[in-house]
């Protein structure tokens, strides 16, 4: 599903965010990405999202070589990946429903289909009764769930989450993780960046550990 082969990323400032990182992720796998801030977690995610291009190396996602993808293809590629951010990235000028509907509107789905899928996604994150509210009135955990609903509403084959539980207390982050696990159960590949060690221990999944841009750990136990 995801293959990194000797991938390095050096920013214009000369900072080496990633150096010679190689790993493989199977379809349907759920794994964590960990390391201190600045270790390269976000950079790795941005490379998969094609928000950045690698300085060196090969990245293959879903059989497509990202190095050979033109900027015109990027939007269509991104529609197959759901993203969840620490700061939710919700739009506060529209309702919860319209926030979740955005990827479907972009993909050009028929009106009724959008309504059906958005309600199904909101139901999944238990926010169906709040569809008409503005997300600004929701709690942090609820906002994060709206973000998750938006990430999965397009039925992507892969879900990336960058510190999805960063601002949440343990109970809420457990709730979020349960959601992710449910998506993984139906075959979605899930990669979660987190530096919450307790959480990593509880989840007991494969972990990629980054230190100063180098991959120093790949396996279940830390």
């Amino acid at each position: 599903m995801i293959r990194f082969d000797n991938v390095s990323k050096r920013y214009h400032s000369g900072f080496d965010a990633l150096s010679r990182v190689s790993f493989d992720v199977e379809p349907g796998e759920m794994l964590f990405l960990t390391g201190h801030s600045g270790a390269g977690k976000s950079t790795l995610m941005k490379l998969i999202m094609l928000m950045e291009r690698p300085s060196n190396g090969l990245i293959i996602v879903d059989g497509q070589d990202l190095g050979h993808m033109s900027s015109g293809q990027i939007p269509h590629y991104r529609r197959n990946i759901g993203v969840v951010f620490q700061n939710h990235q919700l739009l506060f000028d529209r309702t919860v429903f319209d926030n979740v509907a955005l990827p479907l509107q972009i993909a050009g789905l028929p009106h009724q289909e959008i309504g059906r899928r958005v309600r199904a996604a909101l139901d999944k994150v238990s926010l169906l009764e709040k569809e008409r509210l503005n997300p600004i009135v929701l709690s942090g955990g609820e906002q994060q769930r709206v973000g998750i609903a938006r990430a999965v509403v397009n039925k992507p084959s892969m879900l990336l989450a960058d510190e999805p539980t960063g601002n949440l207390d343990p109970e809420l982050s457990e709730e979020i993780m349960t959601l992710f696990r449910q998506f993984n159960d139906v075959g979605v590949t899930i990669m979660i960046a987190s530096h919450d060690v307790e959480l990593l221990k509880r989840m007991n999944k494969r972990i990629l550990g980054l230190v100063e841009g180098k991959l120093v750990h790949d396996g279940v136990l830390w």
Partner: protein, 359 residues
């Protein structure tokens, strides 16, 4: 992975928006049970045709929602939009006014051109009889279409009735006007040399005091108008550039204001065209709105000036009436303004929107 895409959100269900607490009490089959799911990329020709027509419908739908949304956004901030519209309207109305003015002058010039008359003024001591003889002599020439003799008395009566100076004329004890012959040459496209030779023939007669070629004035006027037209187009071009920059800058601000939205849309797979569409429509609305306000300004100015012009024309015995832009001219003006607005928005989109990339 592609052949059996999992459902993340569960089967499409139509259920009323009840509280999810109630929903969680009942077993939720969503996403758990394997379900018949349509493939990610349909292979059948029929299916892909349906998909394509869906895509096309969605494309049209996004155009109309973008158009309506952007107009609603403009009307939501009426004062700000009105300001922009008026700036554009003034920039359009100025060259348009000049254009209308010159078009009218040109029309006036064309009327004169048709009667390329030569006025031959006779010496004061020439009697009506002698003048009549000269008239028939000139009229006999092959290059002359018509000659009319205006006696000093006739001339005075005409002057009295049209100049509005009747009282002054009455107080004169002697008629100061000479007799005149109004000569209309037959020359269709009178060459300069033919006109000059005719003029020389007329001047050579001993009873002729002076020869005036009205055509020369027409020609000078035409030259002036050609110059004026160039000025109008130059000014129009500069002001169109101004409109372009005003709209471009307004759109740039709109783009900055919606930066977050643009980033999110690009992250969830919105194409550049998708993101740009509402802004291009905004530019179009700015242009069309500005064009309509320009028409309003022109219309008011026309009303203000036209009655005065009519009076002036009457004084000169002319049935000349000021011509406005007309229906098609008005539509052209608004369309032109709309296209300029679209172009301004396009410049802003290319310069600013495409550089906004999620980081």
């Amino acid at each position: 992975m592609k052949s059996q895409r999992p459902s993340v959100t569960g089967a499409p269900r139509t259920r009323p928006a009840v509280s999810s607490r109630g929903a969680s009490a009942t077993p939720r089959p969503a996403a758990r049970a394997p379900e018949p799911e349509q493939p990610a990329r349909p292979q059948g020709a029929v299916q892909s045709k349906v998909r394509l027509s869906h895509k096309f419908d969605a494309y049209i739908a996004h155009h109309s929602t973008s158009a309506i949304d952007s107009l609603v956004r403009l009307l939501d901030a009426p004062f700000q939009s009105l300001m922009t519209w008026l700036v554009i309207a003034i920039a359009i109305a100025l060259p348009a006014t000049l254009y209308i003015g010159f078009a009218n002058l040109q029309q006036l010039g064309e009327n004169w051109e048709g009667s390329s008359q030569i006025s031959v003024f006779l010496r004061p001591d020439v009697s009506d009889l002698k003048a009549e003889a000269l008239r028939s002599r000139i009229a006999a020439r092959s290059d002359i279409a018509k000659v009319v003799y205006v006696s000093p008395e006739q001339g005075l009566t005409e002057f009295k009735s049209h100049s509005g100076l009747g009282d002054v004329v009455d107080s004169l004890d002697k008629n100061p006007l000479p007799g005149a012959l109004l000569v209309t040459p037959r020359l269709q496209n009178a060459s300069d040399s033919a006109i000059t030779s005719l003029e020389q023939f007329l001047v050579a007669d001993p009873s002729v005091a002076d020869v005036r070629l009205d055509m020369q004035w027409v020609k000078r006027l035409q030259q002036l108008m050609a110059l004026g037209k160039k000025l109008v187009f130059g000014l129009g071009g500069i002001l169109a550039l101004g409109v372009l920059l005003v709209i471009g800058n307004t759109i740039r601000l709109a783009i900055e204001n919606r930066r977050d939205e643009i980033l999110v849309i690009k992250l969830v797979g919105g194409t550049d065209a998708y993101v740009a569409r509402p802004f291009l429509y905004t530019g179009l609305w700015y242009g069309i709105g500005g064009g309509l306000f320009a028409l309003l300004i022109l219309g008011l100015g026309f009303l203000w000036v036209s009655s005065t012009t009519a009076q002036l024309a009457n004084l000169y015995q002319s049935n000349f009436r000021l011509q406005g832009l007309g229906f098609f001219g008005s539509i052209q003006l608004v369309l032109l303004a709309g296209v300029t607005g679209l172009a301004g928005a396009w410049i802003a989109v290319v310069r600013h929107l495409y550089h906004i990339q999620p980081r």
